[in-house]
């Protein structure tokens, strides 16, 4: 299967990533009572092997929150933290890192950030999107990201990575916020924006 996204489509996806992660940043700021800076969101269309490299070192131990989104478009929302980043975020929230409560707090952050980003996408596109309960993992970055990409875009040679960095003011707990739609999910998003069909031949 050959997939190609043209510049106009990537611009539109970048805009979606920007609005989605902007909403996520606002939600995180409200939750923490601190300002959260959003680094320029990217929409990258990359060969699969490069997509993994773009996210980080494959065997780096990483704390992640995975949220699957079903409904009209399938998307995986991924929050990635360094171990120290996850720990300082837990401390900001007054819970013990790597405890049941700490994991539950990270999951809740994933829930709130994911739901606000997905809610914004749903509002922009008119798609019905259904976030599922989040899962917290402590594992190798590559194992988490490659497993998600295998299931979402494994059959294509192209991964669409929508990501942004969120930096919390006065605390070393930045996180990467990724939206990884399936190829069908990208088609749905683009279709609703009037940019579907001819450019992206996902099927």
């Amino acid at each position: 299967m050959n997939v190609h996204y043209d510049e106009q489509q990537l611009d539109a996806l970048r805009e979606l990533a920007s609005i989605g992660s902007g909403n996520a940043a606002t939600a995180l700021a409200q939750m923490l009572g601190r300002s959260v800076e959003l680094q320029v969101p990217r929409a990258l269309a990359l060969p699969l092997a490069d997509a993994l490299d773009a996210v980080g070192e494959p065997d780096a131990m990483t704390a992640s929150v995975v949220m699957q989104v079903g409904g009209d478009a399938e998307i995986v929302v991924l929050l990635l933290f360094s171990y120290p980043g996850a720990a300082s975020l837990c401390e900001l929230l007054g819970v013990e890192p790597r405890s049941e409560l700490g994991d539950s707090a990270l999951g809740e952050i994933g829930n709130i950030l994911g739901a606000s980003a997905v809610g914004a996408l749903a509002q922009m596109t008119g798609l019905a999107l259904e976030p599922q309960p989040p899962q917290v993992l402590y594992d190798m970055l590559g194992a988490v990201v490659a497993s998600v990409l295998s299931a979402t875009v494994g059959e294509l040679d192209l991964a669409l990575v929508l990501d942004a960095e969120l930096d919390v003011e006065g605390a070393a707990c930045g996180l990467s916020f990724l939206l990884l739609p399936t190829a069908g999910g990208v088609d749905e998003l683009l279709g609703r924006l009037g940019l579907g069909a001819e450019g992206a031949s996902g099927q």
């Binding site: 494959p58 993992l137 190798m140 194992a143 497993s147």
Partner: protein
């Protein structure tokens, strides 16, 4: 990810880092000092495709052909597997993304393809829910595996008796 590599150079090391649901398939002909490693992402190809190493049903024949081109003999070649974990809860049966957990299906497809090629699996560190990194030392034909958060451990080496099947999970 979705790639394969082969080598006959003793100083080379073939590595697949951060295998989750993906399966690292190592083929070793210890007598000739030839090894190959493929990073399989999906059980089977559903269309003509340019990157055979991604799919178990194509990766195994492609990897075998590549080691044979370097001079490996099929009847001496053995396989060592790592990966195929179930990273995510829900097994794809939730309302989320279908088929998010491919680990067990990947491993089964790799084993089927190896059986069809007549290649025995001598050691495997598969299943579970942790990521793994697998390394194949071409020179001494040793295979090691490191599980997320764990220590690197020996998975297979040439001195292992041929009928000694190693399973780490």
């Amino acid at each position: 990810m979705g790639e394969l590599a082969v080598s006959a150079a003793a100083e080379d090391e073939l590595v697949s880092m951060g295998l989750g649901s993906c399966v690292g398939v190592a083929l070793v002909d210890r007598e000739r000092g030839i090894a190959g490693l493929a990073h399989v992402m999906l059980p089977e190809a559903n269309a003509a495709y340019s990157a055979p190493a991604k799919f178990a049903d194509r990766a195994v024949p492609a990897l075998l052909a590549s080691t044979e081109r370097l001079g490996a003999r099929r009847e001496r070649t053995v396989a060592v597997l790592a990966g195929g974990a179930q990273m995510f809860a829900g097994n794809g049966r939730t309302a989320g993304v279908a088929g998010l957990d491919l680990g067990a299906r990947n491993e089964a497809a790799v084993r089927t393809a190896l059986a069809e090629a007549g290649i025995p699996v001598r050691a495997a560190a598969t299943g579970g829910d942790r990521g793994r990194t697998v390394r194949v030392c071409v020179g001494d034909a040793r295979v090691t595996v490191k599980e997320a958060g764990g220590e690197e451990q020996s998975l297979w080496h040439p001195a292992a008796p041929a009928d000694d099947l190693v399973e780490i999970s």
